[in-house]
Amino acid sequence: MSTLYRHGVHAADRLELELAAWLAEFEPAATPVALRLRTYADLRDEAVRRRPVFAWLRPALSLAGSLFAIGGTAFALMALVALGGAVDRSGMGGGGQPGTGEPTSSGSYALMSLIVAAVGVLAGASLYLRFLRRSFVRLAFGASTVTPGALLSLRRPWRSVGWGQLALAALTLVTAILAIQDALASGLVQGEMADLLLLDLGMAPFALAIVWRYPLSDRPTRLLLAGALLSLVYLWTGYALFWIPSLWSLMDPQIWELLALYLLPMAAQVVLVAGLAARLNLRAGPPIALAALFVALGFMQTRFPIAASPDATMPLLTQLLWIVEGLNQWLLLLAWLAAAWIGFAGFRRTRSRSWLIVLAAGAIGASGYGGVYLTWTGTFVDFGPYTGTWIALLDLSTAWYHLAMALAELGLLAALIAGLRPVGAPAPHTKASKDATPASLVEEPNASPAG
């Protein structure tokens, strides 16, 4: 117990006295000699270490660069909004939904664009606020700094297959059959539900692939699985709404639409990509200039749902739906771009071909939105009325969107099955080196994936 201070002289009541006494319990008896030795040895090392020239300038430049990038992005977005609004008002063409040929009819376009732009800039900028970035990193990676676990073996005895995996396999099979049936019976599903039910062969087996190849005890695996399960829920919500029309009457149809069409896929994609980043053990984001470019591309992507939005006399929920649709497309595009970035970073660090497939899948997924930029170009370059080549281009871009999504999802599935190796994990062993390495360090052939 210390005798240096008279603890609690300011204590006015029992609580404060107890508090003072409790704090004093933690006072160490003496300073360890090792602390002095270590501190002053390191101090001497620090003193002789050469400091880089202009080291003091770096933080200032970094901050200025960040602020400039955020401000520049904001300015660019506002300029695009103003320019787009002017073009629309002058009646130069485009602005309808891609593939629909609808002209712009938006009275509240500029306002909606401003709202989306402001939300986007705030969201983008917030990622460069340290505490928010740390929160995101913590959300994705947790408090643990442990490298994600080794891959589980692709081949394993039936006895080691758990009930959960069998159930997921059955669900995957049923989902795949339904998706194929929908694809074959074209015309069965119409309108916006077509987008929902199209696919989705690629995403259906994600959950099964994840529990098969990755140890569930890892946080990244759980994130990946959560994303995959959300996408299954998204698919099945669509099927349920299609098969049981009375479900629509349970809630406002627009709320169903909000949930089934926008919120679920957004959540699924974002969680899945966070899982990919966690699996790679990648804690650094892309350079801010690249991030700003992503945000700007995303904004252009969102312009079209907004441009086609009805006027301000529509109910609030309808207007909200338009904004959420814009944000949904924005986020999905950003998620694919993020996947491409993670794939690139993963390949650069691990030289693993699986990450290369992730990079390709992300790039293809993002390119699926290319048609939108074609339409965007149409607002500046007068291609003439919505006929002939223009409509063919729009149809082509819609077809490419669906093909790109299917390819990207299949690519991601292939990468998940092939096995995503985190940074810091041992490199895959060659046949020669495998002989000298204990099997437990290479893979866990008999380990339960639930373990």
Partner: protein
């Protein structure tokens, strides 16, 4: 390293071996005190060692920016407190540490007046306070500093110290009452 070298650092501004010796003497003077304070604030002697170690290195890197070197002690103290606060913040994002087993056994041995129950309640509630509040409360009740002294040490206005202290104690009382402490326990 004697008084001469310390005096030298107060007048000398150029870098060099003599400067390092003087810095070492200045920081060594504060080391014990800083370590004790950090150990109490962090409630963990190992983390306190890390904080003091980091504070010395950080102080050396920033030593050139210290204009009034006669105020080294308070400047160094502030570095230590800031590092402690960072650690507390990082810890809040992780898990709350339990009281060390040795301390628990010691408390149980002396639990004639229900001290264990009271201190365990404090131990459970105190780490949940905001790190800024924890630092002010520790300076007030462990270091027994006057409010003005705390304000000077932390470099914040007196009113902020008062409000943090008030808020910290009020939250402690609220939490303890919620945990079952009666009014007379708090008086």
């Amino acid at each position: 390293m004697g008084r001469d070298a310390v005096q030298a650092v107060l007048t000398e501004s150029g870098p060099g071996e003599r400067m390092l010796d003087a810095f070492e003497a200045l920081s060594d003077r504060c080391l014990d005190d800083s370590y004790r304070l950090a150990a109490v604030i962090l409630r963990d002697p190992i983390e306190a060692q890390d904080v003091v170690h980091d504070a010395v290195l950080l102080a050396w890197r920033k030593f050139g920016s210290l204009r009034d070197r006669s105020r080294f002690d308070s400047w160094f103290g502030r570095i230590v407190l800031n590092l402690c606060r960072d650690r507390l913040r990082a810890r809040r994002r992780g898990q709350v540490r339990e009281v060390a087993l040795g301390a628990r056994l010691e408390l149980q041995r002396r639990d004639e007046l229900g001290l264990v129950a009271h201190r365990e309640a404090i131990a459970a509630v105190f780490p949940r306070l905001d790190p800024n509040l924890q630092v002010v409360v520790a300076l007030r009740f462990y270091r027994d500093l006057e409010l003005e002294g705390i304000a000077a040490l932390l470099g914040i206005p007196l009113g902020t110290v008062k409000s943090r202290l008030h808020k910290g104690l009020r939250r402690l009382r609220d939490e303890l009452e919620r945990a079952g402490w009666q009014g007379e326990d708090l008086q």
